[in-house]
Symmetry: C2
Subunit: 202 residues, 2 copies
């Protein structure tokens, strides 16, 4: 690792190394040395950048959230209707290719690590609540006539479904291929009356 790289860039490099180890070797092998090796440096740099392993994981977790949030907001700005936004952001949360599959594994690894880490579980809760509120807001915009109870129930059904199928597909991509996930999503949106009438019109 170059000596002149600024601190935040190093933090990002190390966090991405955390993701790589987490998705490739799992939580049990997520050691400081493995992260350093994945980042192409030694444990010395890692421990100079972060006070301890816990802070390293927390930073990697927060960066994952930040990256995801930026991607979702970009989708939200680009899409035309609330319904197409809703579909797009649920779509990006599933495990449809190698990259999103690894993200799902990383996501799950952090969740498993959070069982024994108060700061990680707090971060996880904050992110998940924000995520649910975002989907509730979009659901309400996509179906303005609904009661808030129905909005809440359907939004929860949608985020749970996306999260769940990502876990299934991450662990068994052959059994849960991308087209099956997409059919599932479109079937669900249609069943709730949230299908985008513009879909496939172009």
């Amino acid at each position: 690792m170059s000596r002149t790289a600024d601190r935040s860039a190093q933090g990002e490099t190390l966090s991405r190394a955390v993701w790589d180890v987490l998705s490739g070797q799992g939580l049990e092998r997520l050691t400081v040395r493995a992260v350093a090796a994945a980042a192409g440096c030694t444990t010395g740099l890692v421990m100079h950048r972060f006070p301890n392993r816990q802070a390293l994981l927390l930073h990697a977790r927060q960066l994952l959230h930040e990256v995801t949030r930026a991607r979702v907001e970009a989708l939200e700005e680009r899409a035309a209707t609330p319904r197409s936004v809703l579909r797009a952001i649920l779509h990006q949360g599933m495990a449809l290719d190698e990259q999103t599959r690894q993200e799902a594994i990383v996501w799950m690894g952090f969740l498993a690590a959070a069982v024994a880490d108060e700061q990680l579980i707090e971060e996880h809760r904050r992110n998940n609540r924000a995520w649910r509120e975002r989907v509730e807001r979009l659901t309400a915009a996509a179906a303005p006539e609904w009661t808030s109870e129905r909005v809440a129930a359907v939004a929860l059904a949608l985020i749970a479904m996306a999260e769940g199928v990502a876990a299934y597909a991450a662990a068994d991509p052959e059994a849960f291929p991308p087209d099956a996930q997409e059919r599932m999503l479109d079937t669900a949106l249609a069943a709730y009356g949230l299908a985008d009438p513009r879909a496939g019109a172009d």
Copy 2:
């Protein structure tokens, strides 16, 4: 641990100790010594019962599957209609009380451990495929007029939703209380046209 206990009972005791450590302390602290302490014995007994740590985890994973399967089949025999069976077995897969919440955490811990364990991931895939086939079979029985494509899409939506909400609720029970999960389930079943007309009739 009593000396005269037979081997399979000891295996079950140790496997339950694995679950306890996994749900209480997380995968990172799931050591042979922690399992022995939770079972009230020493590492000597653990290593005499299982050749190594991997075999211990695999047995605990298989027993979890077996227990779940027995519970689901009991529900299936007891319920009156395919639709009530479907609701009942999805219901038992969510995190509605402390016990099911801990089961969800254990489930997730095994999934995270499976990233680095070929046998665990194989076991996981086998179980998940059997679980999906069961729900597909019940869905087809509950809606005989559907095409197999719709059955597959809806069944996947249902199991993914249950798995996902269990993960959300396990990590944040206050934000995802039992009644929210149940409203979500009933809203989803109604949306797919799978609501049980007998529900609430008694």
